[in-house]
Amino acid sequence: MAKQRVKFTFPQELIKEPVIHELGKSFNLITNIRRADVTEDRGWVILELEGELDEIERGVQWVASKGVRVDPVQGDVVEG
């Protein structure tokens, strides 16, 4: 089992979609939310994903393909 910490930033049109629920169910991942700020027009969620490494990678790709921005929890790592 592997773990990955990520930040999801949701566009307005996906705020009402149960993306995290579907991620857990479809890829057999445990989704553990640690911090979040969601309003009616925007939202971000910081969470830990736990499961098989391949499934985490596939799951994160699926989330990104839905239009959710996926980042490391510490923000951009590449600096000037």
């Binding site: 910490r5 930033t9 640690r34 911090r35 700020d37 925007r42 971000w44 910081i46 830990e48 921005r69 996926v70 980042d71 490391p72 929890v73 510490q74 923000g75 951009d76 790592v77 590449v78 600096e79 000037g80």
Partner: protein
């Protein structure tokens, strides 16, 4: 000695021992170094600082590492210059330039990497790492070389080859990563989890970031132990701005300054301005963006400290401002032509932003203003190469010279007298 006490979560307040860690295990909030200020107050005085070396290590007691074993390239204690010509051009009566172009690898990153690499050795690491498009990579490679340890430097594969030289020359292992900017971010986060490296802006980030405070200490000391009225700071992750605020606050806390009422304003390039956009919208919620600007050293689309930078700006009474690429180039040229300082694009962002702030009345014309110029222009010459006067090509005769000047439409300058 270091008076660092603990790592403190900026979100939930939990404390952790001083270790190579950057994220709270409970809420995944960022960690920051805290100090024993009572002990520091007894040990540190203006005189004790003034008797120290002419480098950032004169503030050794205010940093989170053991300066007796510092990785020392003599970073810091850079010039603070009174900028009368630029001040006149912008309409400011007391403008100063903090010129960090003079650091060992020509940018302020030497401050943060000096602290990070010193702490990395304390923690027993034998390898430094970073992901960068320029200044940070140069500094990490140089400090690893000075410390006699290895360095892995990750860069996006589409980076101009000229930018690689300043890292490769120090013997670092350069790794060019194929893929989009976000892919490089993700890969480096995974590598930092997997390998026992001191990844300067990941697992030792809390210590790394503290190096930026020395900019604030120096400015206050160089002004004769007083805080500026207004600071203009470039923003990428937002960390530098927050640490300038923290540095000034600490000086007041340690009775090194009588009072601090400094407004702190942040400048970004319009093509990557998530912090300014949030400021203008009146929210603390940063929306990540895809960078598209010539100011590549500030091109952080998802700024780790953006939220905290917004709070410092708001609490201090400062402002946030963005300038487009043409204004940035104009800013570089104005600084060079008026004060003889050739800054990289981030410096152009600061000068262009300052101009806007003055014009909109957000910087008072009589304030004592310090503009932070964080990197030298020789690294980003492509930004201005097509926007400056071309050389006059002449035959080796006086007549040819005079003809060329006349063709450009000017008179030949020169006079000797008493100024």
């Amino acid at each position: 000695m270091s008076y660092a006490k603990a790592l403190h979560c900026r979100e939930c307040g939990r404390e952790y021992p001083l270790q190579p860690s950057h994220v709270c295990e409970f809420c995944f909030g960022p960690l920051e170094v805290t100090y024993d200020y009572d002990a520091q107050r007894k040990a540190v005085s203006r005189r004790s600082i003034e008797s120290g070396p002419l480098s950032l290590w004169r503030y050794r007691d205010l940093l989170p590492c053991d300066a007796d074993r510092a990785v020392d390239l003599n970073a810091g204690f850079t010039p603070l210059l009174r900028a009368r010509n630029l001040g006149e051009a912008l309409g400011l009566s007391q403008l100063y330039i903090k010129n960090d172009c003079t650091n060992p690898t020509w940018s302020f990153k030497d401050r943060v990497v000096a602290v990070a690499s010193t702490k990395a050795l304390e923690f027993g690491f034998d390898t430094l790492a970073c992901a960068s498009t320029g200044n940070l990579a140069n500094s990490v490679a140089a400090h690893a070389s000075r410390a006699g340890i290895k360095a892995y430097v990750f860069v996006p594969s589409n980076l101009e080859s000229g930018k690689l030289v300043g890292s490769a020359v120090y013997g670092a292992t350069l790794v060019a990563v194929d893929g989009a900017y976000d892919d490089v971010n993700r890969l480096c986060s995974e590598l930092a989890d997997k390998y026992p490296w001191a990844f300067v802006n990941i697992n030792v980030r809390p210590y790394y970031a503290e190096g930026s405070k020395t900019l604030a200490y120096e400015v206050a000391e160089q002004l004769g132990w007083r805080a500026p009225d207004h600071c203009i700071v470039p923003m990428a992750s937002g960390s530098l701005l927050t640490k300038i605020g923290k540095g000034l606050d600490e000086m007041a806390k340690l009775w090194l300054l009588d009072s601090v009422q400094t407004k702190i304003s942040g400048a970004q390039a319009l093509g990557c301005s998530p912090i300014v956009t949030a400021w203008q919208a009146g929210t603390l919620n940063i929306r990540p963006v895809k960078p598209n600007t010539i100011a590549k050293s500030l091109a952080i689309g998802n700024p780790a400290d953006g939220y905290y930078a917004l709070k410092v700006i708001g609490d201090s009474g400062g402002s946030a401002v963005a300038s487009d690429d043409d204004e940035i180039v104009d800013g570089i040229k104005l600084l060079a032509e008026s004060e003889g300082i050739f800054a990289e694009t981030a410096g152009g962002v600061v000068i262009a932003g300052l101009k806007r702030l003055v014009e909109s009345g957000r910087v008072d014309r009589d304030e004592l203003v310090v503009a932070f110029i964080t990197g030298a222009g020789l690294k980003t010459q492509e930004a201005v190469v097509d926007k400056i006067n071309k050389a006059l090509h002449i035959a080796p005769t006086v007549a040819s010279f005079e003809e060329a000047i006349a063709q450009r439409g000017g008179a030949i300058a020169g006079n000797q007298g008493t100024r």
